[in-house]
Symmetry: D2
Subunit: 244 residues, 4 copies
């Protein structure tokens, strides 16, 4: 029996991750990853209550043991021969905006761990499950990375953050070139603006000046539905009024 | 009475233009532009026969009189107060691949007329109708431009073609920054590969190595549906196996 | 007898063009082009008086006849077998900053003529003389184009200007890829800021906030001296305090 | 007494580093860094014998203690109030070209340490000495980073290498924006091709197809001489015949 492929989403908090989780859960069983169960539990519950299927797995994507344990849990839940239709890396190291000479080695290391090593380990864990998914999924298997303005612009005071966002983008681009010909759709999204999530809603911006997480989820879903003949590698998303 | 807004598509031939026309005709009455009625007539007929509403208008987008006459015909057909939900510039000057010293001034001028002046006149004609469309359309009014590999890479032997594709991209980018804050979604698509159309099907490429025009149309439709908080300015589209 | 190769500089006014002219006149006889003799005459005189060799030629680079006549004058002065060590395109269409819907077709055409057709005709006229210059010049023959911020960024209100600057950059890039392997060094400079020339000195900016034309000339000279193993295609130049 | 400022060059081996060291040693006393004394000793000796002044310091740029010890040695040799006219980061993690699923976490960590943390620690150590150098140096103090093709293109099989080169470039760009206004010239060079050094000479490429390290040194010197009004942030360098 060929089971339904699943979607794995890393970095599921109350904003973009949740919106992506809900979107993909409408089509696939999902595994939602976050370090802290508090962040994914409400979303897992909501999906399961509304007829979808979700599990949450506490995962530190920068720790290879934790990532391996995550894969084991996915297999326990969804079968040893589980296929992945979509793997989405929405995690990130902490946002850092600081004069360069005030940055510490620890901040750089943490930024590396969260953004670069995290995406590396997540990709190494999911690509083997993505590579053989085509026959069981309507759409080509997809590996999508969430980037930021700092993925393409190294602004002053962003030496740590932009460094790791550029790095993540390079990794995604290299994977797109290596795994596209093998049928995996690797894409990168430059989210250029403030996302409308609980934390940022306190900043006092106009609703219209913030990116709707559901629109990000819709864009990721559109990317996922693109056929093998027509892959998009990169999209940017920003509010209509954003200066860029 | 508030009438339905329409879509205007320039450069409607048997490939991408036709696919875009069919896609947008599912939601809007359409006006399809091409220099030669032979290219748009079958598409206009097919749309009208399948319950949609389409008119074809013979237009030389590089000629301001012809573009003005086009707008008049659109107004005759769809009303003087017609609103445009989507204007899509899919026209292009001829593809030219030639040693630089073999290019003539005439070739450069023709390339300018078809790609740059064409998009300029088309944008000037449609933007006033796009600017006031928001209230009557579910989605923000959209102005979308079709680009190519040569929009971002000036390869050897492409001095004329890449020159005008870079130019078109600059125009689109400038319009995105000027009209985004006014609510018009301006986007540019880098179509990076051979499109699967009648002409190219004779080239002997594998089906999978050519971009599906319907996937381009789907991507344009997705762009059109993005809310004002979440505009994409640029996407690239290429076959999974394309070298880039 | 093998005569000294010359340098041809288009767009010689009192600022950047003059600085480039003086710099290259220290090594080569020069031909200085401008539409109006008033702009090049003082520079021609100064070079000739200080022991260099310069001629001025009234040229409209956007007019093929004028460009042909220029080549004839160059040959009359410097010999039918004249070789060109460096050709520098520093001309430009007028700077235009205007709401898109206020632009006229004439403005776009003039911008095309000055920037794109001008560089096209200049390149077609000089490349044949550059191609065979290596043996007579110490440095590889060079074709250098002056760009601007708008060469890489299509800002709001710059639809005409950026369009043509992007186009110029594409042309330069295509030429670099076509003629590099033939030994001609084609380069493009993104001049990102206000240049310190008589006209802009009235704007009231701090001296330090404006680009020194002599520094541009030094950079072009450095580009010219790069050996065939080590060509730079693009440099950017901006004041230390410029926001970018 | 105001002593002459010095230049510090990290990553001094027999190729590019040596050429840069010789070039800057013609103007400044130099400190040459490499992990292994064997790589810098011949260059230190040659500079000292030809009338220059050089010291070599065994340094692991990815180790903060080692970098601190390096600064101490520099101060012992050149004075506690030493100023730095130019700091050049030419070190790199190992070149890695491998299928993504064959990469190990250790390879990624090593690549991070060598390229990203190394440049971070080097910049943090040298910037304070660069910031106050202007009055004692003829040219603005400069911090220059050596990049590669992989700094701007994430090719297949380059997930580890390109990731860290993109990261290095982001760091350099952020520093340029933060420290340019403070008078430090931060620049990044995209070395796009094989450099003509002992190791690569065995590869059998034509001499002309390899980048001359002395030309890289000349370019870095030119960057260093740019005045505060006219900083270049990025140059690319490649052989005339290189495909790009």
């Amino acid at each position: 029996m060929s089971r339904k492929p699943i979607a794995i989403i890393a970095g599921v908090g109350p904003g973009t991750g949740a919106a992506i989780a809900r979107k993909f859960a409408a089509a696939y069983p999902v595994a939602l990853l976050s370090r802290n169960p508090d962040t994914y539990t409400p979303i897992v519950d909501a999906i399961n209550q509304s007829g979808g299927k979700a599990i949450g797995i506490s995962t530190d994507v920068s720790d290879s043991k934790s990532v391996k344990a995550m894969v084991e849990k996915v297999k326990q839940e969804y079968g040893n021969d589980v296929k992945v239709a979509a793997a989405i890396f929405n995690a990130s190291g902490a946002f850092v905006r600081k004069p360069f000479l005030d940055l510490t080695e620890e901040v750089l290391d943490a930024s590396y761990a969260g953004s670069v090593k995290g995406s590396f380990l997540f990709s190494q864990a999911t690509l083997p499950l993505l590579l053989f998914s085509t026959p069981t999924s309507e759409h080509p298997p997809s590996l999508i990375f969430t980037g930021a303005t700092a993925s393409v612009k190294g602004s002053a005071l962003f030496a740590a953050f932009a460094t790791m966002k550029f790095a993540l983008r390079a990794q995604a681009q290299s994977l797109a070139r290596e795994f596209g010909p093998k049928g995996v759709h690797v894409a990168h999204a430059v989210i250029d603006g403030v996302i409308d999530i609980p934390k940022t809603q306190a900043w006092g911006l106009a609703k219209e000046a913030m990116i709707d997480p559901n629109a990000i989820a819709d864009a990721y879903w559109h990317l996922h539905t693109q056929p093998k003949t027509s892959f998009t590698w990169e999209i940017d998303i920003r509010p209509a009024g954003e200066k860029w």
